[in-house]
């Protein structure tokens, strides 16, 4: 019986996380406390940084020092970490960043859940970027997706964002732990020789090998545009074009490995819901109630928010008369649905903002019934 935060921490440990750095912030601090207790006892490093700017950069250094590292934060800290996350993208540094969303912007409602960081998780850094974003809906999934986050980060040499929220963080549910021996996180690849480039790859789907420090590779890690050997080259159009396309493709060409979703009752649906995270729990209940009333309701739940495969949503929109997008923000996921909708369905943005109040199934049932009438 654990909370979502505890599940994330335990998931990290199961995935072989041996370095945690963070700065306390509501509602993510419990992840930090858990790691503070566990990591020193199992040979890992726990470090409390002086602020989130330090935290993300310590994480980057630790990753290059060979550690499997995680940091957790919430909105205000997540905003501070953006530059660092961009640096991890540019230097292909494996990292796991947990954002337990709360109401914003700025200090907002520190103890209340929200989903307003969706676009920021995808696009928060300046410049071109592709960062996988995973979104659990329960403590069980929080555990599983944290393990997945490490697997994706290590294999693709990329920072991965786990987007949770305060509801999931503090809800308590029984979770089933797998046998830890069965959890296989790929170790980052070492160069086979000094002639294997650490920042270039012939196959755009495969991440370059990551040279360990102090073994004579003399690796040049830099946040400036660089060639495949790490030499800064800001004058050539070609170098930057190749680099940014490769970094983008590294994630998007692996969409089959990364993208996960759940879709139920969609084959005959006349009213559909699209949601992620804790809101999906209410959606599932609403769909059950509607079906009991004889309404053909279905849903698509995104477990991965980026990279995004629009097909499940597009297919739902082509089937339904009405598609409702409930979210704890004024409306960000709805923009994806409107994009996927090819004019068939009426897309309803149900953005509930105010904090502390979940979206209740009865609200969704009401909107669905009204939507079908008109």
């Amino acid at each position: 019986m654990v909370t979502g935060n505890e599940a994330i921490a335990e998931g990290a440990i199961a995935a072989g996380c041996n370095f945690y750095v963070g700065y306390p912030i509501t509602p993510s601090s419990e992840i930090m406390h858990y790691m503070a207790e566990k990591l020193p006892r199992i040979g890992g490093v726990f470090f409390q940084a002086e602020d989130e700017l330090a935290a993300i950069n310590v994480a980057i250094g630790a990753s290059w020092g060979g550690a499997r590292v995680m940091t957790a934060t919430s909105g205000p800290g997540f905003s501070l970490m953006q530059e660092g996350i961009g640096y991890a993208v540019m230097t292909e540094t494996p990292l796991v960043i947990v954002n337990v969303m709360r109401v914003g912007p700025a200090t907002g409602q520190a103890t209340k859940p929200a989903q307003g960081d969706l676009m920021q998780a995808r696009w928060g850094r300046h410049g071109d970027q592709a960062v996988p974003v995973l979104a659990p809906e329960s403590p069980q999934e929080a555990f599983e997706l944290t393990v997945k986050a490490f697997a994706v980060a290590e294999e693709l040499r990329v920072p991965v964002i786990l987007l949770s929220d305060e509801f999931i963080a503090h809800m308590r549910e029984v979770i089933e732990l797998p046998n830890y021996e069965s959890i296989k996180i790929p170790s980052r690849r070492r160069p086979k020789s000094l002639s294997e480039a650490p920042f270039g790859s012939r196959d755009p789907r495969i991440a370059p090998p990551m040279p360990p420090l102090s073994e004579g590779y003399y690796v040049l890690v830099t946040g400036s545009t660089h060639n495949e050997w790490g030499y800064r080259d800001t004058r050539s159009f070609e170098t930057h074009y190749k680099l940014s396309k490769r970094l983008w493709n590294k994630v998007w060409l692996n969409i089959d490995k990364i993208f996960e979703y759940e879709a139920r009752y969609v084959d005959d649906a006349e009213v559909g819901f699209v949601a992620f995270g804790s809101v999906a729990r209410s959606v599932k209940m609403a769909v059950k109630i509607l079906r009991e009333k004889g309404i053909r309701a279905g849903f698509v739940r995104l477990k991965t928010l980026w990279p995004l495969d629009l097909k499940p949503i597009r297919s739902l929109c082509s089937m339904c008369k009405v598609v409702i997008v409930p979210e704890l923000s004024l409306g960000q996921l709805v923009l994806d649905v409107e994009r996927a909708n090819e004019g068939n369905a009426k897309v309803i943005n149900y953005g509930k903002v105010g904090g502390g109040e979940p979206i209740y199934p009865r609200e969704l049932v009401k909107i669905a019934l009204e939507g079908l009438k008109s």
């Binding site: 370095f19 750095v21 207790e37 020193p40 006892r41 490093v45 470090f47 940084a49 002086e50 602020d51 700017l53 330090a54 935290a55 950069n57 310590v58 994480a59 980057i60 250094g61 630790a62 990753s63 290059w64 020092g65 060979g66 550690a67 590292v69 530059e83 660092g84 640096y87 040279p211 420090l213 102090s214 073994e215 004579g216 590779y217 003399y218 690796v219 040049l220 890690v221 830099t222 946040g223 400036s224 030499y231 800064r232």
Partner: protein, 280 residues
């Protein structure tokens, strides 16, 4: 017939020479002091050293010029990245090189915390009195009255004596030299890598920017070196710092030299406590 090779070049990446530094930039002289220190310590190559730097002219010293593993990071964030490397690989010597902009302006918070923690890092701060790379704006160390790109009528802000601030923390080793005091600087680097190899070691190198300070004052780089030799006065204790700064001199010397356990040792002790703790 062959052309003799300078002693620093064995530690440098030949393929990126000559450097992009301005003619007369003192960054190259610091490279020489580092090289001489390595040579005299009998270090053949730099594989057990990791260099971390931020953004700015002196941050380019390790990246790409020094032939070693180097992380060229975000502006102001060299010290946290170096901390991460050191804690993940405590057996490596991690050296941070940065300027007064990178380490004492945007990065000042991280600098002071690392000093407070006595983090096991060697930090070399190249103080050129301005933000060089962005073309000569004022920095927190700009002396009062100096004309810079953002103080065209002469700076009116009190500058910071960064060595004094760091000396007031738990840092093990704090020293200030000018780039003119080559032998002292080289010896200080040697000390920080041998006699005082744990905890936070901080060396400030006063080296006014040849292009945006010296040239504005009508001086050649060589003239600046000679003037620094006159302005640099050895302090006996921290009280001398005030006296010399009032006289317009630069107080140099070793402000502090201790050999207390650094963060890594303190953390290892903490882990021993954690392991024997009763909680499950």
């Amino acid at each position: 017939m062959k052309l003799a090779k300078h002693f620093s070049r064995r530690y440098l990446r030949e393929e990126v020479l000559p450097t992009n530094f301005c003619p007369g930039c003192f960054n190259g002289v610091l490279i020489n002091a580092l090289s001489k220190a390595f040579l005299e310590l009998g270090i053949d190559d730099l594989r057990n050293y990791v260099f971390v730097s931020g953004i700015g002219c002196s941050s380019w010293i390790p990246s790409p010029y020094i032939k070693a593993d180097s992380l060229h990071t975000l502006h102001g964030r060299a010290i946290p990245v170096a901390t991460g490397v050191k804690l993940a690989k405590p057996d490596l010597e991690v050296i941070v090189i940065g300027g007064d902009g990178d380490l004492a302006s945007i990065g000042l918070g991280h600098l002071i915390h690392a000093a407070r923690r006595n983090m096991d890092l060697l930090v070399i701060l190249v103080n050129n009195y301005v933000y060089g790379m962005t073309r000569g704006q004022m920095s927190p160390t700009t002396p009062m009255g100096l004309v810079t790109a953002t103080t065209p009528y002469g700076s009116f802000e009190y500058p910071i004596d960064i060595c004094r601030v760091i000396a007031s923390t738990n840092a093990n080793y704090v020293a200030r030299w000018t780039i003119a005091h080559f032998i002292d600087l080289k010896n200080s680097i040697k000390d920080a890598l041998s006699r005082y190899r744990r905890g936070f070691r901080f060396i400030e190198v006063v080296a006014p920017c040849t292009t945006y300070v010296a040239r504005r004052l009508g001086k050649r780089a060589g003239e600046v070196i000679k003037e620094l030799l006159k302005l640099g006065v050895r302090i006996k204790d921290l009280n001398d710092l005030d006296k010399y700064s009032r006289e317009g001199k630069i107080g140099i010397g070793i402000l502090k030299a201790e050999d207390k356990p650094g963060y890594v040792e303190l953390y290892r002790e903490y882990v021993r406590r954690a392991v024997s703790h009763g909680r499950t």
